[in-house]
Symmetry: C2
Subunit: 277 residues, 2 copies
């Protein structure tokens, strides 16, 4: 299995972990966003992941991965996970898979990578928060229409991530040394049992440790904090994780960023050989 395939397997193992309260997993899904959309998303993302391993520019590889991922009817399945995987895959290929090397890959992205990133939003609708009003012309939802503004300001993809790190959990990884992804990998390696069960356990741990930024966007900060408390209660045995999963689905609470971090952690753990399937 090559590196791009390990990244693909990380996407598949992430969605196989159950219960991951609030997210699509192999036992829970939404009528319009189902388990098989994630399978097809992982299959379709492969060419872009291969490009990242093959030395393509990060932005080019990312846009290709998203375009392939989007060839299914469920909409956005793994946009955030792929954005997190790209610097990890490139670091593993160019240097070694460390937080320092991944941060260097992130820091070395260019304006062209930023343009590709904006183009990727043309392939799929991604739920994101509103940017501050002074950054409205950089709103990712403008897609390719925002590229002239990016270019005239000379913003690299790293700059774009830095500008949204306060709202977006993946951007925070990019500018914060990929701390939570590597933490997830360590936890996955230290956990016991089959890999999908570990993924589910570590998902709850990460969710309990920090409010999910996507829940904050979807609902509000208070809900995101409440969700973290509920995850803590599930870890402490006060709530059955299966009940919590059903409850989150009913309340449309989707801690999607935490799921993305699990995908990143799974890739690191597979790459380092601390988990195996």
């Amino acid at each position: 299995m090559n590196r791009a395939q390990r990244a693909q397997l990380a996407l598949l193992l992430e969605v196989a972990g159950t219960p991951k309260p609030g997210n699509v997993d192999r036992r829970r899904e939404y009528s319009d966003l189902r388990f098989e959309h994630f399978l097809a998303g992982a299959v379709g993302a492969y060419d872009g992941l291969t490009m990242a391993v093959g030395g393509s520019r990060l932005g080019t590889a990312f846009e290709r991965a998203v375009s392939g991922m989007a060839e299914q009817d469920g909409g956005n399945t793994q946009f955030g996970a792929l954005l997190l995987l790209m610097p990890l895959v490139k670091a593993a290929t160019d240097a070694e898979l460390t937080a320092t090397a991944a941060s260097r890959v992130a820091a070395e992205t260019t304006v062209a990578d930023a343009a590709d990133f904006y183009r990727a939003f043309e392939h799929v609708d991604v739920a994101v928060g509103d940017p501050p009003s002074d950054l409205a012309e950089l709103d990712v939802r403008r897609g390719a229409a925002a590229i002239p503004a990016i270019e005239s300001r000379g913003l690299s993809l790293y700059d774009v991530m830095a500008a949204s790190a306060s709202r977006d959990g993946i951007a925070r990884e990019w500018v914060g040394g990929f701390e939570r992804s590597f933490d997830a990998a360590s936890r996955l390696g230290a956990a016991v049992g089959p890999v999908p069960a570990r993924a589910a356990d570590v998902f709850l741990e990460l969710l309990a440790a920090e409010p999910d930024p996507f829940v904050a966007i979807q609902h509000d900060e208070a809900t995101a904090r409440e969700v973290s408390k509920e995850a803590r209660a599930a870890l402490d045995g006060e709530i059955d994780p299966e009940s919590l999963a059903a409850d989150f689905v009913a309340r449309e609470i989707n801690p999607g960023t935490t799921a993305d971090l699990i995908a990143g952690g799974l890739f690191i753990a597979l790459e380092r050989g601390v988990i195996r399937v």
Copy 2:
């Protein structure tokens, strides 16, 4: 998504369908053969599937697919499905995806393809039935050791399949015009609902229609016939398919050939566009 990716997606959708009584699916697994082994098997099979699309000899592509599939700890996950997919993938690439074209691909296999097929058994333990005593030196469980006997007899892979068609359901497809695979594809196209649900429904239909050869090998012909009757009862609403699934797992009844036929049918149906994800 390219053709090899559609074949890979067919493998993933097959195992996502639930309940598929007696087989690993996303809700049921065995302690040593789990859902994630099938995910990793599908990821690992991709290079061999790509070789089949790229014009490699069928045997070469098959051996590569099996070798990649086997890079996980669960053992044999998709050997039979890959053996069924290979002539279908090559027919779609070289001509068109019809039963006639697939049968021509099968008929045109060579002694070298047969040797590759035997080599594939070196990568993974596959449960097969005993050959007739006069064919003992061709027993696939001998792996590469049987190749001199294959070569001295000048047997093509098609000849090998023809010799085991009475016991093996995939061999029967190879020499019988891939009738059940194309039937499965039609049924999948005609069914309603999400693709994994269709796969589960058509699995029961195929199992009810014909005893599973793998169950006959694993247990005996009488058990295989009984299993078909129980599948019929589930289709008729007399048995809850979920109970039947739990019951088959407890009795270690694995209608694996029927699952392989579903994978073949899913590929044909994806290729023809009669199902989509």
